[in-house]
Subunit: 448 residues, 2 copies
């Protein structure tokens, strides 16, 4: 919990400096809002909540009896359950924007950190209830929105002290590439093949594209993209040439050129803003090709092997399905569980998180006289406990050990009478004695 | 959200200085854990979650057909739903303690801030999903645990700048009173009658007790309690006399004396610790008489009319129902919604909460040159936005107005060329011009 709060508090503090407001949506949404948004598999993983009151009143299950004698669970459960548990934060956000469109200031910049539920078979690292952490700006097509997300990612991981690379692609460029290759419906196949370049090499990528039904001419058009080199400007320059009729096919793609304009503008802003995170164009980035329409983002840790720890992109029609068309937005989602793994793996959690309590006053039956000192230390921000019972010292030491409390204070009637306290650093063994009123000196010792 | 976070962050910061650990339990519990814990009414208000997969496989609803032709919803839903949504934090906490009893360091001091769900008819101020905020110490019978809760309440409301009174009762004293009156089964009736003293007066209270079946002799025993006066020590002294055989009945109540010992010890600690919140004995406090076994707490705001904003007490058998007997604990629950109402009513929320963003850079098409300044201000902790599109100024001002942004910066090509920014305080109208690198001076102006 302390570790997770640390991650979320850090992320939240950055969102706030960019003017994003936190929203929360109810855990239960109407099933009609959720169904059909996550594919057939998603529909199966939705948790459905039985209608309250007498759920079966007026329902005759026999009407749902099928020819094979079984009940049609799907239809019957729709009758019995109006509500389902949130499956992600995106659909509730879209519903929220449409519902509150008259009260919301657009562009609407919101973040949301809430649990979601999926009726998955539980397995290592996959839970039925887990947190998502999304940040989106909706209602503007400006690349300054993309920039803000890049800045936020940069700042979050600097604060967490994790070196990352941010890979940036643009769906329109991928569309353009498929267009100039003459296979506009093969965007996904082309991108997925390009993505394998590092793993399987140039020849195998070309073979895969042919296997997926591309013509040799199309592969010839795409080949220069596989050997892009140089800095961002150089890469954009080569791509611009290709999109502008300079490829083997000679086809011009307006969409591709628009995508390159967007990338160029975004990288211009990135340069102007002074981002210290490495940001690079990666045309093989294939995340969310079904819904992203512009920028595509993916963040990877440089010093820890794990998938992407943050990702997102621009979408043009999030709210269309709820009746509000032409709402372009861009967002990223922070993968809290993976970020946790990275911080744990790299030992980047602050040491202060692991021990919630700094000092334990052991209880020898004389606890009352340390109460004012304990209060003063707490007022100084130092977590302090007093063992509540005058138990055997071994038990009290055990307690300190189990809670990783680094300092213990053991005082008997002599100290109580003299108005002093002994404070011992349990790892170094150093012990000091103080007057009960020497709060500042004691605080200094406890702070190391 | 910002206001609620402020309340929870404040409370959480206090819990931490006392060494309480935050836990979260899953939203879904087994219905077998939840059913029967909240009475018949509570069982009805539990949200049940349909089993995932094919919930009706192997279920024949006809087996649940009743004589009147309707289906037995209760029995059928038990078959279809294994899980339910958390109804409160207490039962999941008890389940958690029993389940993790071998890993937990006892006394176990935990707090928990999570939503709970109740299938209630929604109405003003009552939601189907709302947050509870509980803090408990379990595994010690020491009055130092009670003291800690008093200290926490004291500190929380001092930080929130709300004057409160903390009323303290003890269930054992009430039991003792019923015992010496000769009506040990009428504890609730006696307490509820005493509670009406201020409203209906002495004679009416006596009449009510007679009406509830107490004898005139019993009322005579109780009468001195109705006119208790003086400080805590004086009240405890009078009560001790009564419990010790000094009442009209002459009966001695060991339980009552034990309760008075506890109260005396607790008030001794309160005096030693130096609590600034007014703490007073209130024998009419009738909260949770069914489960509290020792101290009973209730906190009321002094300057705002609303019910109790925090309350709790000691229970001796929270975990017994899950197979772990003899676990005494004490806890309080902070009523976040009511605390919100009090802070709102008294105007005690910090002004900074209402405007998330301090400065809006308007967009006149020259936004790029302010990017480094915006980043520097954010690094200094000042929330800054850049309007993403070069829209009409009216639209941008509207945006600032709707988000209550107090400062706006409008700069055109001249300012961009000169490397300056204009910053205007929208409430005072004061406008200043700065060099783009004068971060500190600008930050000072923005901070007022």
């Amino acid at each position: 919990m302390a570790e997770r709060n640390y991650i979320f508090d850090t992320i939240r503090s950055v969102f706030r400096t960019y003017g994003y407001s936190q929203i929360e949506t109810p855990s239960m949404e109407n099933l009609s809002t959720l169904l059909g948004k996550y594919g057939d598999e998603g529909d199966k993983l939705l948790y459905r909540v039985l209608n309250s009151g007498d759920a079966f009143a007026g329902v005759d299950p026999e009407q749902y009896r099928q020819e094979d004698g079984s009940l049609n669970s799907k239809a019957l459960s729709l009758k019995l359950c109006e509500k389902g548990l949130r499956y992600d934060l995106t659909v509730p956000f879209a519903r929220y924007v449409v519902q509150h469109q008259n009260e919301i200031p657009f562009p609407f910049k919101r973040f949301q950190i809430q649990p979601v539920w999926r009726a998955d078979r539980p397995q290592k690292g996959r839970y039925r209830e887990f947190y998502q952490c999304d940040v989106d700006a909706i209602g503007s097509k400006s690349q300054l929105c993309e920039l803000e997300l890049v800045q936020i990612v940069d700042k979050v991981f600097r604060l967490l002290d994790v070196r990352v690379v941010m890979k940036i692609n643009n769906r329109k460029v991928l569309t353009g590439l498929a267009e100039i290759a003459g296979f506009p419906d093969k965007v996904v196949d082309i991108t997925v093949a390009i993505d394998k370049l590092d793993k399987i090499g140039l020849d195998a990528v070309k073979a895969e594209m042919l296997e997926k039904g591309l013509s040799p001419q199309a592969v010839q058009v795409i080949e220069p993209v596989l050997s892009l080199s140089g800095d961002t400007a150089a890469k954009i320059g080569v791509m611009r040439g290709l999109m502008n009729g300079g490829s083997a096919s000679g086809v011009v793609s307006e969409t591709g050129l628009k995508g390159l304009d967007e990338l160029e503008e975004l990288f211009g802003y990135i340069g102007a803003a002074g981002i210290s995170t490495a940001c690079e164009i990666d045309l093989s980035l294939a995340r969310g090709l079904n819904y992203y329409t512009g920028a595509i983002f993916e963040v990877k840790a440089l010093d820890w092997q794990i998938g992407s720890i943050c990702g997102g992109g621009r979408y043009d029609n999030l709210t269309g399905i709820f009746g509000l068309p032409d709402m372009s937005g861009v967002g990223v989602s922070f993968g809290a569980d993976r970020i946790y793994d990275v911080l744990k793996g790299l030992g980047k959690f602050p040491a202060s998180l692991s021990s919630a309590t700094t000092l334990l006053f052991a209880n020898m039956g004389e606890a009352a006289y340390v109460l004012p000192l304990a209060s003063a230390l707490r007022d100084a921000g130092i977590p302090v406990e007093i063992y509540p019972d005058p138990s055997k010292l071994k038990k009290q030491f055990d307690y300190a050990g189990r809670k990783s409390i680094p300092f213990i204070s053991i005082n008997g009637s002599e100290e109580a009478a003299a108005g002093t306290v002994n404070i011992k650093n349990l790892s170094s063994g150093e012990q000091r004695s103080y007057g009960i009123a020497e709060t500042e000196a004691i605080a200094a010792f406890l702070r190391g």
